[in-house]
């Protein structure tokens, strides 16, 4: 999804995941409306919005473990550690999130993408605050996700490493 600031990218994403009620129309998942059975849809859905959902008082590792438990994804401590190492948060994983930089906080979100088997990603500006290595890592994760048969709906101003199947341009 591309579009100028204020063209409605975030609003559309929030409508798709069901946080905002659309004025008209409905969202279908496997042919069924998501409003009627939100839990089945939520189980398939990984959403990362403007606000990262990272608690400042919890460490990177605790934030990741908590986010996965909330998504009903079981991960062993070894898996958590491996994912954090892959996104470059091995050393600061015990620091409270308030001491991490904006990019490092984004990387907690990348670790979530590694461990969460959700088939549908809805990501709002996933590349903001990430450095080049982070962008490359996100590109790899996205390619792996798509190769597995996953779907991804994302809004971005950056060039993506893999070509999107469909580009949606929102006019203001």
């Amino acid at each position: 999804m591309r579009g100028a600031n204020g063209s409605g990218k975030t609003t559309l994403l929030r409508c798709v995941v069901g946080l905002t009620r659309a004025d008209a129309g409905e969202v279908l998942w496997n042919g069924k409306g998501t409003r009627a059975k939100p839990r089945a849809f939520n189980a398939a859905l990984l959403f990362a919005g403007h606000l990262a959902g990272i608690n400042d008082d919890l460490s990177a590792e605790e934030n990741l473990a908590s986010a996965l438990a909330l998504r009903a994804v079981a991960a062993t401590p070894d898996e958590l550690r491996a994912a954090l190492a892959q996104v470059g948060l091995d050393k600061p994983r015990h620091l409270p999130a308030r001491r991490l930089s904006a990019g490092q906080r984004r990387r907690i979100g990348l670790a979530r993408l590694i461990l969460d088997p959700a088939p549908l990603w809805t990501l709002d500006e996933p590349l903001s605050a990430l450095d080049e290595a982070g962008e490359r890592l996100f590109g790899q994760l996205l390619e792996r996700h798509l190769a597995r048969g996953g779907l991804a709906l994302l809004s971005t101003h950056h060039e993506l490493a893999c070509a999107p199947a469909r580009e949606l341009r929102l006019g203001a």
Partner: protein, 230 residues
Amino acid sequence: MSAAAESSFAAGFAWAIARDVRLAWRHPGEALLVIAFFTLVASLFPLGVGAERELLERIGPGVIWVCALLAAFVSLPALFSSDYADGSLEQMTLSPHPMPGWVSGKIAAHWAISGLPLTVLAPLLGLQYALSADTLVALVCALALGTPVLSLLGAACSALTLGARGGGMLLALLALPLFIPVLVFGAGAAEAQAAGQSSAAHLSLLAAGLILAAIALPSAVCAAIRIALD
């Protein structure tokens, strides 16, 4: 690649209570300050009004109940607002766990941090008011039944004021009047016992209120959170 675990009411409840208690434990000073403050307030009353036995017996349950009520109230604004501000509330709403599960878990954690410690401390506070053993038992039972109702009612008000300007003042105007029935029957239980009557009627009413609140209010909180996030 990780396996999918079970998503259920109980899993969401356990997740929320463990998280919120752990967060409170990170800053024990904040929760302890509230408890210490209201314990001190309750201890200062006998010094202020004088050591007249009948007077203390008369006002004791009421003072302890007002302290419990205010302790529940002051920790309310933080119940949802920080999760709302950092986006955690969106993630919780989109979780496959049923929404009433984790909402109830957060409310239970609020009670464990505010209502439970005061219920446990109440016999000590009651001693300063020369309350008899029977009255203390009635007071503790009433607090154990009534303070969860305060947390439930308060959570609904706290969710309703999410994102509103001047939320704190609005929360006081909304929540404190709703707390009044709990205060009346809660303090009434201990007073009836002190007057030589049975506190059973008051306690039954409180228990009925608790059941009703525990069934109805989590859904109301869910609806309020959805509105706030929309």
